[in-house]
C-alpha cells in the first residue's frame, strides 16, 4: 500500500528543498554575473532577501546593480532563533522595501530590534519556541518549508496595521510577522509564509507560470469576496494546502486568535477546484502539483505539458550534420549542484532560461567557444555518454540544439558553405 503523499513529498518529487535552493542560488549568481562580471556571491549573500530584492529589481529592468550595495545590506545583524531574526537597530531602514510592500495603506510597520531591549528578547524566545514547535509537530514539513525562509522580521504590534503575517514576491526569503503572544502563532505563520517562500523558489526554477498568467481570469473567494490574479490564487491555494496538512498534526495545541487552520482544508478545496477549471493557464509543474495535491488519481497527472518554450512555439528540428555550434558571446551560464544549467543573455533587461538535461549537456559540451564541434561529433559523444543508440542521441541532440538556437543562446556556422 502506498503511503499518502503530503505537500513535502510532492515538493520533493519536483525537487528536494536543498536542490531547489541550490538552483535558486545558481540563478541569482548568473544574474549577478550578467550585471557585474567577476563579483562572487557566497551562499549567505545569495540567500539574503535584500540581495535578492536588488537583483530582482535589476532583472525586472529597474536601475542597475551595485555589488557594493549588496555587501552593505547583507551586513545587517540577525539573531538565531531557529531561523535568522532581524535584530539590527537599523533594520527599519535596511528592510524598508519589504515593510513598505506589505504595509496596508497609511501604515508604516516598524521592526522590533535589539534596540527595543527586553521586549525584543521576549519575542525572540517566543519565536524560538515557535520554530521548535513547528519542527516537533511536523518535522518533514518544517525541513521542507524553512529551507526557503532566510530571515524573519517581527513587526511591533502598534505599527503592524492588522498584518498577521506577510511575504513578498519582490523580497523573497523574508517572512514578516506581527508581534506574537504564542509560539503557535509563529509556527502557523512559518507554515503559511514558508509555503509562499517555497512557491517563489519553485516559480523561478520550475515551470509554474508564464507571462500569460497576467491575462488569466481572476478568482473571487467566498469568504471575503476578494479577487485575486492567478499568481496570488495559486500561492493562496498552495499555502492553504500546507496549512490544512499542518492542522492535522497539531494535536491539542492552542491556536492563535487569528488562526486560519480550522478553515484551511475547505478554502484549499474551494481554490483548488477553481484552479482545476483554469489549469490551462498553468505550466506543467504547477499543473502537476495541483492535480497531485487535489488527489487526482486519473493517471494523467504526469503526462500533460503545454510547451512554455521560446515564444511558445515548439521548434521543429532541422539540424545539418555539418553545422558547428558555439555559445554566443553575450551568453553566460551557471551550473547548479544537480547539473542543471541556467543561462542568460546580456540584454537589457537580461533574458534567463533554465535548460533541461539534454540542453545543458549540449551547451556545456558541444557548444564551447573556441571548440566548435560539428553535429556529427556531438552525436558520437552523446551516444557514448548517454549510453543510448545513435538515433536516439541524434534526435535528443537535434531537439536540444534547436531550442538553444531559438533562444539565441548558441549560434551555428556551416563550414561547407564557407568554403
Amino acid at each position: 500500500m502506498a503511503a499518502p503523499a503530503s505537500t513535502h513529498a510532492l515538493h520533493a518529487a519536483l525537487s528536494p528543498a536543498s536542490e531547489l535552493v541550490d538552483d535558486r542560488r545558481a540563478l541569482y549568481r548568473l544574474a549577478l554575473e550578467l550585471f557585474a562580471p567577476g563579483f562572487e556571491l557566497s551562499d549567505n549573500l545569495a540567500d539574503h532577501p535584500i540581495v535578492r530584492y536588488e537583483i530582482g529589481r535589476a532583472l525586472a529592468g529597474h536601475d542597475g546593480l551595485d555589488p557594493v550595495r549588496l555587501k552593505e545590506v547583507a551586513a545587517m545583524s540577525v539573531r538565531d532563533a531557529g531561523v535568522p531574526v532581524a535584530a539590527d537597530p537599523a533594520a527599519a531602514e535596511m528592510l524598508e522595501a519589504p515593510l513598505r510592500i506589505v504595509a496596508p495603506a497609511g501604515v508604516r510597520p516598524q521592526p522590533l530590534t535589539e534596540a527595543d531591549g527586553e521586549r525584543f528578547e521576549t519575542v525572540l524566545l517566543i519565536v524560538a519556541e515557535g520554530v521548535r514547535l513547528f519542527r516537533a509537530l511536523a518535522p518533514a514539513m518544517a525541513d521542507d518549508l524553512l529551507a526557503h525562509v532566510s530571515m524573519l522580521a517581527v513587526m511591533k504590534k502598534e505599527t503592524s496595521g492588522g498584518v498577521v503575517s506577510a511575504s513578498s514576491r519582490y523580497v523573497p526569503g523574508i517572512v514578516l510577522i506581527d508581534e506574537p503572544s504564542l509560539p503557535m502563532e509563529v509556527a502557523e505563520a512559518l507554515v503559511h509564509e514558508g509555503a509562499h517562500e517555497k512557491f517563489f523558489d519553485l516559480a523561478i526554477t520550475k515551470e509554474f507560470l508564464d507571462a500569460r498568467a497576467e491575462d488569466a481570469d481572476y478568482f473571487e473567494n467566498s469568504w471575503s469576496g476578494a479577487r485575486w490574479p492567478l499568481e496570488q490564487t495559486f500561492a493562496a491555494w498552495h499555502a492553504y494546502s500546507c496549512l490544512a496538512q499542518f492542522f492535522l498534526s497539531i494535536g491539542t495545541e492552542q491556536l492563535g486568535p487569528d488562526s486560519l487552520l480550522p478553515n484551511a482544508k475547505q478554502r484549499a478545496a474551494e481554490i483548488g477546484e477553481w484552479l482545476l477549471a483554469h489549469e490551462r493557464d498553468l505550466q506543467g509543474h504547477a499543473r502537476w502539483l495541483l492535480h497531485a495535491l487535489m488527489g487526482d488519481t486519473g493517471g494523467h497527472v504526469g503526462g500533460q505539458v503545454v510547451p512554455s518554450g521560446v515564444d511558445g512555439v515548439a521548434p521543429s528540428p532541422k539540424i545539418s550534420q555539418h553545422w558547428e555550434f558555439h555559445v554566443l558571446p553575450d551568453v553566460r551560464y551557471k551550473c547548479s549542484a544537480t547539473g542543471r544549467v541556467v543561462a542568460g543573455r546580456s540584454t537589457n533587461p537580461p533574458e534567463i532560461y533554465w535548460l533541461d538535461e539534454d540542453a545543458s549537456w549540449a551547451l556545456t559540451n558541444s557548444c564551447q567557444v573556441g571548440k566548435f564541434a560539428t553535429f556529427e561529433r556531438a552525436v558520437l559523444r552523446a551516444t557514448e555518454e548517454w549510453q543510448v543508440g545513435s538515433a536516439v542521441a541524434r534526435h535528443r541532440l537535434e531537439n536540444a540544439l534547436d531550442w538553444l538556437l531559438s533562444a539565441q543562446l548558441i549560434g551555428r556556422t556551416d563550414p561547407e558553405k564557407e568554403l
Binding site: 500500500m1 503523499a5 525586472a60 506589505v102 498568467a213 497576467e214 488527489g295 533587461p349
Partner: protein
C-alpha cells in the same frame, strides 16, 4: 474529486504529516518540461506583490 491532504493515487488512510517522505506511486512523477524554459517571473510585475494575511477587520486583502 477529493480534497487536499487526502491520499494521492492510492487507498485513503489517515494523513500523518511529519513522517518521512513517502514513496510516490509509479507513473506519477512530475512532468517532463521543455528543453529551454524562459524565466518570466522577474519581468512580470503584478500589483502589490505581497501576500499579506490581515486580521478580519482588514480582510479584503487577505490571501
Amino acid at each position: 474529486m477529493t480534497t487536499p491532504n487526502q491520499p494521492f493515487r492510492g487507498p485513503q488512510s489517515s494523513q500523518t504529516p511529519g513522517l518521512p517522505v513517502p514513496h510516490l506511486p509509479g507513473g506519477a512523477g512530475p512532468v517532463i518540461g521543455t528543453p529551454v524554459t524562459p524565466v518570466d517571473w522577474f519581468r512580470r510585475m503584478p500589483n502589490g506583490g505581497g501576500t499579506v494575511f490581515l486580521r478580519p477587520a482588514q480582510v479584503e486583502q487577505n490571501d
